[in-house]
């Protein structure tokens, strides 16, 4: 699957299928501070991602106070 990461923007390719929680754990990204979007639609942690999916992992934390 193709995975778009942000801050900084970059793209990686991962082989095989896995669910959202497994993908985030593999990339060491906390669930609480990220959303996962598949083809423009949000998907929950137990959603299965297919090998040919295009995925965006979007960080949600802002720094200003």
């Amino acid at each position: 699957m193709k995975v778009l990461l942000r801050n900084p923007a970059r793209e990686i390719e991962l082989a095989g299928r896995r669910n959202v929680n497994a993908l985030l754990a593999e990339l060491a990204l906390p669930r609480e501070s990220h959303l996962v979007i598949r083809n423009g639609t949000l998907v929950p942690g137990d959603a299965e991602l297919a090998a040919d999916d295009v995925i965006e992992i979007r960080p949600v934390i802002s720094g200003g106070s």
């Binding site: 299965e48 949600v60 106070s65």
Partner: protein, 327 residues
């Protein structure tokens, strides 16, 4: 495409988001309903707004400020937006575009103020000229201009997009230092008083993750990139620490902040009234330069204007590279 296994708690349709703190999943429709209810609950509990108020929303082009503007309009409030151009290079240019697009697509009024155009400086230059961290120079500038725009425009309430994560992180920092004065003032509503408009935070019951999800579900484009000047600030470190706790114990952030409001804020308020705390009771008077309330001769904003507008413009990259070590 493989369908999600989880179902919406309300309708049993396919879920789009899991919210561990509610121990539930939601579909798009019922997730939006949840957000609306949380905002209405905050507004009602703290007497934030009525539909008769003229509301000014401080808008940055980021998810939280656009989400709160969208939510208020969705809930039937009259709300204009205010964007302050901070002059943080491409980041500010892009964030302004998002704010303008949001307003124009919905036929909403967006007021714009440019720090460089109207006050002769930008945040990177202010940080260097005043030897402040960029977030401090930025915060002082924004707060002053938000207050001024609200009062000058005849708005009855100023709304900011501070969410549960923001407030929990500030509370965490204030608690680490046992800063009683700041703790006593950390409230979701600050009433109008001489020289200050009423300020409210309708998103205190919603997390950053939920606000980003609101924007995605509602089709709101916002600036996803982090402010280049915020990298490494304490606020981000506090949020990361709280999110680590939240992962282990869902609901901790909400309990930390909302129970502070319920159980501790009244105690601090009573102590302040009784004069038993070190809370700031210094008399405010008018800034000799702009007339805004201040404890000194001139206010912090005018002090920045005086120093930064006389300083040669400083590129963002220079402050990012060196600014934090030159406090």
């Amino acid at each position: 495409m493989v369908a999600a296994a989880s179902k919406c708690r309300v309708c049993r349709g396919p879920a789009i988001i899991d919210l561990p703190r509610h121990n539930a999943h939601f579909c798009a429709e019922h997730f939006l309903d949840l957000c609306r209810r949380q905002v209405m609950k905050a507004i009602d509990k703290f007497d934030m707004l009525t539909t008769a108020d003229r509301v000014l929303v401080a808008v940055s082009g980021g998810k939280d400020s656009l989400a709160v503007w969208d939510l208020l309009i969705d809930l039937g409030y009259q709300a204009d937006g205010l964007y302050v151009g901070l002059g943080i290079g491409d980041y500010s240019d892009t964030s302004a575009d998002y704010a303008r697009r949001f307003a124009s697509e919905r036929g909403l009024k967006l007021i714009e103020i440019s720090l460089r155009g109207e006050y002769g400086y930008d945040v990177p230059t202010a940080a260097r000229a005043t030897k402040r961290v960029p977030c401090s120079a930025c915060g002082i500038s924004k707060r002053h201009l938000f207050d001024k725009a609200a009062l000058d425009g005849g708005y009855t309430v100023l709304v900011t997009g501070h969410n549960l994560d923001d407030e929990a992180a500030v509370l965490f920092g204030n608690t680490l230092r046992w800063d009683v004065e700041y703790l006593a003032r950390q409230l979701p509503v600050l009433p109008a008083r001489n020289g200050f408009p009423k300020k409210v935070k309708p998103l205190i019951r919603l997390t950053e993750r939920e606000m980003a999800a609101w924007c995605i579900v509602r089709g709101i484009d916002y600036i996803v990139d982090e402010c280049p000047m915020a990298a490494g600030n304490k606020h981000l470190a506090y949020k990361a620490a709280l999110n680590a706790i939240e992962t282990e114990s869902p609901g901790s952030k909400a309990a930390f902040y909302l129970n502070f409001l319920e159980n501790m804020a009244p105690v601090l308020a009573a102590a302040t009234v009784a004069g038993t705390s070190a809370s700031g009771s210094e008399a405010l008077h008018a800034c000799s330069s702009c007339g805004a309330p201040t404890t000194g001769d001139i206010c912090a904003f005018c002090n920045i204007v005086n120093k930064a507008s006389a300083h040669e413009p400083v590129p963002v990259e220079l402050v990012m590279a060196n600014g934090r070590s030159k406090r």
